[in-house]
């Protein structure tokens, strides 16, 4: 800054001027209230910003591990025991299955763990059906023996135990088993006569023709 202008008397007098003549002065109280409100509002805003940031951090800290656990739970590969079904409807198939082991293509599937555990709990009950005599014996143990009534004479019939209906959808996607027999292909056997007579089809796997050759 150059000091050439500061030696002037009029500048210092102008700097000392507190109000312009003929104009209303500043309402200091109103101006201060306005300024103070603005200052407090800004402080509150900055505080609120910090609170929001803290809340976001806490939420993130809670959600991220939960999401990771959830993701791991559902992305784990589970291989269900493969059940191989053999085609036994044709005689040739049985022969082939004996001679050569079929190539099993088992598709791995992702099944929810909870659903599998449910199925595992139900399956033994399905395999071993409930015997009514066992149920009556068990009931006899638990029920009070009253001999002087007719009810005691009649053995209580066991109430049919309600089995839980398991829908196929609950078991999840079915395991797809494919048995591929490399040598079991459609074939046709034809007999050509040397004498120029008509040809004869004696076997066709697709049309299911099995004939004995005619003379």
């Amino acid at each position: 800054m150059s000091n050439e202008a500061h030696n002037k008397d009029w500048v210092s007098r102008l700097d000392g001027l507190n109000h312009a003549a003929g104009e209303a002065g500043l309402d200091k109280n109103a101006a201060w209230d306005k300024l103070h409100t603005r200052m407090q509002r800004k402080q509150r805003k900055s505080k609120a910003g910090w609170y929001w940031a803290a809340a976001a951090c806490v939420l993130a800290a809670c959600l991220i591990p939960a999401l990771l656990v959830h993701k791991q739970k559902y992305t784990g590969v589970h291989t269900s025991p493969a059940v191989t079904y053999h085609h036994s409807d044709t005689a040739a198939a049985s022969v082939i299955s004996k001679k050569e082991a079929p190539v099993n293509v088992v598709k791995e599937m992702h099944k929810p763990v909870a659903a599998q555990q449910e199925v595992a709990a139900i399956l033994p009950a399905l395999i071993h059906p409930v015997n009514p005599t066992n149920i009556t014996a068990a009931l006899k143990k638990d029920t009070l023996q009253i001999t002087d009534t007719m009810l005691a004479a009649v053995p209580a019939t066991a109430a049919p135990k309600k089995m839980r209906v398991v829908h196929i959808n609950e078991l999840g996607e079915a395991t797809v088993n494919e048995v591929v027999y490399p040598e079991y292909k459609p074939f046709t056997i034809r007999v050509n006569s040397p004498a120029g007579l008509g040809d004869q089809t004696i076997a066709n796997s697709t049309l299911n023709i099995h004939l004995s050759p005619k003379n």
């Binding site: 150059s2 002037k8 102008l14 109000h19 104009e23 300024l35 103070h36 603005r38």
Partner: protein, 184 residues
Amino acid sequence: MDLPVLIKEAKQGSAAAQKCIFDQLADKMLMVCRRYVKNQEDAEELLLDGFYKFFKGLPAFNYQGEAALYTWLKRIMINECLMFLRKKQAFVIVSETVAETIPLEEEALNNLSATDIFNLIVQLPAGYRTVFNLHAIEGMNHGEIASLLGISEGTSKSQLSKARSLLQKMLLQKNITYVKRSTQ
């Protein structure tokens, strides 16, 4: 209460001390704003903006006397005003050619009262007024003014020259009116 004590308390966030400082300096600072911005309401708004920045920056301020505090606060106010004028695009750059420097008779201004000088300055167009304020009152050179306003040094000189010639005219008119009044 003394200003150093008030500053110390205001630094610690005392609203009462801040109000005392505001009461002491608001009038002078409003006149500073009015020198740059003609409109009273705009000047009051800029005064509040300036004081808000002042109180916000006060904890980092090292008090070295009343003059230093006054200079700092004045600088804040001037910056606020310049920002406002820049936003409003109030600078009317007439020409970039360097005009002849017309010496303003300092004695003529010295003979006038502070209010009269203020009224003369306020009547100048925004561009002239800003350059005149920065050069003649704040004591900045043309390089500083040019970098502050984003104009060339030549433009700054030109604006100052035109401001001076306009003030001369106004002073002349004022003298004439005084003469007229005295003759009546």
